[in-house]
Amino acid sequence: MAKVVENAVCTFCGCLCDDITVEVEGNAVSQVRRTCANGRGVFMHYDPAPRQPTVRGEEVTWGEAVEEAATILSEAHSPLIYGLSSTASEAQRKCVALADYLGAVIDTTSSVCHGPTGLAMQAVGEPTCTLGEVRNRADLLVFWGCNPAAAHMRHFNRYSVTARGRLTPNGKRDRTTVVVDVRPTASTRIADQFLQVELGSDFEVLTTLLAFVQGKGDRLTAEEVGGVPMAELEALAEHMMSCRFGVAFMGMGLTHTPGQDLTVSELFKLVAALNDHTRFSVIPMRGHGNVAGADQVMSWQCGYPFAVNFARGYPVYGPGEFTAVDVLARQEADAALILASDPVAHFPRRAADELGKIPVVVLDPMPSLTTEIASVVFPTACYGVEAKGTAYRMDGVPIQLRAVLPTTRPTDEEILDQITEAVR
């Protein structure tokens, strides 16, 4: 008979849906309910079979792998620790401690997704709220440069567009949804208004909206901005100022396009200015399950959310300098520890190739393109499937992950403890 686990948490994306029902037969997941298509694979494609760590492709004991990893990291002059986004915050904390002890550079996957959002938060501040407030109160939603229908598939249903809340009992009929993007997507099709802007014009469009919100619309003489007629932008600004509670959700359409942090800052300034007229918030659409937790842990442990160098014995912050792609491009790292991420699959080719030239230690429950080039691979337990832990939702709310399967492997936290002990 199948064991049923209620209210399991899916760690695929920053929504961290915590209403998943998982059926377990023997040591494997036999059925899941309420996940999206993306989240289903987290449970159904997970292979719980015990696996041994490897050193240069050969199976070894866990102790031998720890010894080899500690040797690699101890002998390195400039080690890089990177990733952290798909593990629990308990392990992220151990990672920062190891970086501190080694004098390493430590960076998270934020640096290739919402790093510019972090810079904008530091420059402008972040007028934000929780997803619960969105569901219960928001009557205007603006999705800017993101496609939740592909990347955060239950966001609309659980938290935003169609979610029914205390002041929004009729769901979609009680709110207006605007999607701003450079191309039609599955998300633009559900929107009440699709504002199609020209590629690279987000900053100008945001500045124009900000001018209207600040009462400077009479100074604007252009007929259109970013391919959008001025009258349409003025109408959107009016709608933003007159709504009961508006929320902007922003994605990598802003952070991956030139202008990056400056464009995100302009959105944050717009949201701040809207609070002179009504209540308005912004929430970044965080991708990996606990990338928001990586920012939290890094910030409380060393004062900065990513791109930190401990070489001087204290944390030095340097986006563009101590971020992983930059460190690798300059060939400064002579060893790396990669935790719960796959930079070989997601970094620009030249940076990924550099990882293939240095000894790399990887902790990852699943094989990846990075485990293929690694010197030492620890196939650790998967948080949220085999292990308990804490993860932070995209709105900064911590969620407790459940173990739905019996644990057959050590956790990231345990292996990091052992490596730290060995390098000491």
Binding site: G41, D107, A150, T255, T323, A329, P348, A352, P367
Partner: protein
């Protein structure tokens, strides 16, 4: 034929599905080794669905199959993954984040028709 386009990379459902099945699988390869183009642009360049094109940037090049996409003229879309990464440079404009979108790309018909995702 050759023409300059702007490339946008991003997530897709099939890329996520391929990721679960394994990045060494055919499903992941098919999900990520592709580029989408506006139908009118494909016609102007004499390309059909499944034609192999050679994409080139200052950072590198790649051969991938082209498919019709709902895109404005002049825009290309590729799913995130190793094929797109061959076109992305390591410059981060002091933010740490590479330019994964709004990237100028030269499109040429590939001499390796039928092959995809090989280094140019």
């Amino acid at each position: 034929m050759d023409a300059t386009f702007k490339l946008v990379t991003g997530r897709t459902r099939s890329q996520a599905d391929g990721l679960h099945k394994g990045k060494g699988t055919e499903a992941y390869r098919q999900a990520t080794e592709r580029v989408e183009m506006n139908q009118g642009d494909m016609g102007a360049l004499g390309l059909n669905e499944g034609s192999t094109v050679h994409l080139r940037t200052d950072a590198g090049s790649v051969d991938v199959m082209v498919y019709r996409g709902e895109l404005p003229s002049g825009l290309l879309f590729m799913p995130l993954g190793p094929a797109a990464n061959r076109l992305i440079g390591v410059e981060t404009d002091a933010t740490g984040t590479p330019r994964y979108k709004d990237l100028p790309v030269i499109v040429e018909r590939s001499v390796r028709e039928g092959e995809a995702a090989s280094d140019g």
